[in-house]
């Protein structure tokens, strides 16, 4: 029993560390366009011809699989015939970090705080 509790606690701690990492990665690389709140209203947005996606839009975001989100972050908008204004991040982020970001996007769009 005690071991079980410890395992559950460890998972909870690891989970929140991952959420924290996701938040920091999003802050560094994504907030400039997608905004502090993830609603697509970053400081660059007024200067862009295509608006950054609102990552809190549940309906839009549920229309994408984790795999699709992973690919667009890794390879950029052009890879799925969307705007080049969404850059490819594979040179700045490794696959693990991109998975963490996908997880964070799910929190933003679809989970109660």
């Amino acid at each position: 029993m005690r071991i079980l509790v410890m395992i559950v606690m460890l998972i909870a701690v690891a989970g929140s560390a991952m959420a924290q990492e996701g938040r920091l990665l999003y802050e560094r690389y994504c907030v400039q366009c997608h905004g502090v709140e993830g609603t697509g209203k970053g400081i660059n947005a007024p200067h862009m011809s295509v608006f950054p996606r609102d990552h809190t839009d549940r309906t839009e975001m549920m229309g994408r699989s984790d795999e699709e989100l992973f690919r667009v972050i890794r390879n950029g908008g052009a890879s799925i015939n969307q705007s080049v204004l969404m850059p490819a991040w594979s040179h700045n982020l490794d696959d693990d970090q991109i998975h963490v970001l996908v997880r964070y996007l799910r929190e933003l769009c679809c989970e109660e705080p």
């Binding site: 560094r28 690389y29 400039q32 970053g42 200067h47 862009m48 850059p87 700045n92």
Partner: protein, 239 residues
């Protein structure tokens, strides 16, 4: 008043006055026998990285003060530009070096908190000359620049602008005309006078190689395309 109390008040003043918040910049004067390396170490390196990856782990309060790395300044800047800028520093990054620490959300969208931006220290002419000369000796990546095979030339403005803005998307983060373009990256209408041509080419190809953790992405393209964009920066500088 007791020394302890003075110390306490002093500490409060220091803690309560981040460099971005007071509006008169610190002013430094040169003098005979200034040890430039020591001066830079003492007065500049709290805000400028001295080695790769430096700064990434700082607290947000310190990150808000940070400027770009200076340890490869000699591979990056033009000496004439340094000399002038150090005497009259003007903002190059509209939202600071690490924008997330200078923006806040409003219902209409994120805005830059101007008051939080660093008011840069100013050097007198003598000191600026010595510091610029010293910074130009910091060239850890000289080999990288020597490998570049780039012949600057001017290009037809309209096509090049379309490329910068529409096809490559640089305008999302950079201004190529004052007041036009994104604000998370440094202004680029002044890039040609600020930066060495080979640095521009090398940095655009692999920004992370220069500055690990950089917020500038790689806009995957071949060298000819990079050279065209560098030529565009030259062309707008000479317009």
């Amino acid at each position: 008043m007791s020394t302890a109390r003075w110390l306490f008040i002093g500490a409060l003043l220091v803690l309560g006055a981040p460099a971005g918040a007071d509006d008169s910049p610190r002013y430094f004067k040169g003098g005979a026998g200034t040890d430039v390396a020591a001066f830079v170490k003492e007065n500049c390196l709290a805000c400028h990285a001295v080695k790769p990856g430096d700064g990434a782990s700082h607290s947000p309060a310190i990150r808000a003060e940070l400027g770009p790395p200076l340890y490869y300044a000699g591979d990056k800047y033009r000496e004439e530009w340094l000399l002038e800028w150090l005497q009259a520093p003007e903002r190059i990054r509209p939202a600071g070096y690490y924008p997330p620490t200078h923006v806040r959300a409003t219902p209409e969208g994120d805005v830059i908190d101007e008051a939080s931006l660093v008011n840069h220290p100013v050097l007198d002419a003598k000191l600026a000359e010595e510091v610029a000369r010293y910074l130009m000796t910091l060239t850890p990546y000289a080999d990288r620049l020597a490998e570049e095979d780039y012949e600057p030339s001017t290009v037809p403005l309209r096509m090049a602008r379309l490329d910068f803005r529409r096809f490559k998307g640089c305008v999302a983060c950079h201004q190529d005309v004052k007041g036009e373009g994104g604000v998370s990256g440094p202004e680029l209408y002044s890039a040609w006078s600020r930066l060495q041509p080979e640095f521009i080419v090398s940095f655009v190809r692999s920004p992370g190689q220069w500055n690990p953790g950089t917020m500038m992405p790689v806009l995957e393209m071949n060298d000819a395309a990079i050279h065209r964009l560098a030529n565009y920066l030259k062309t707008i500088a000479e317009e």
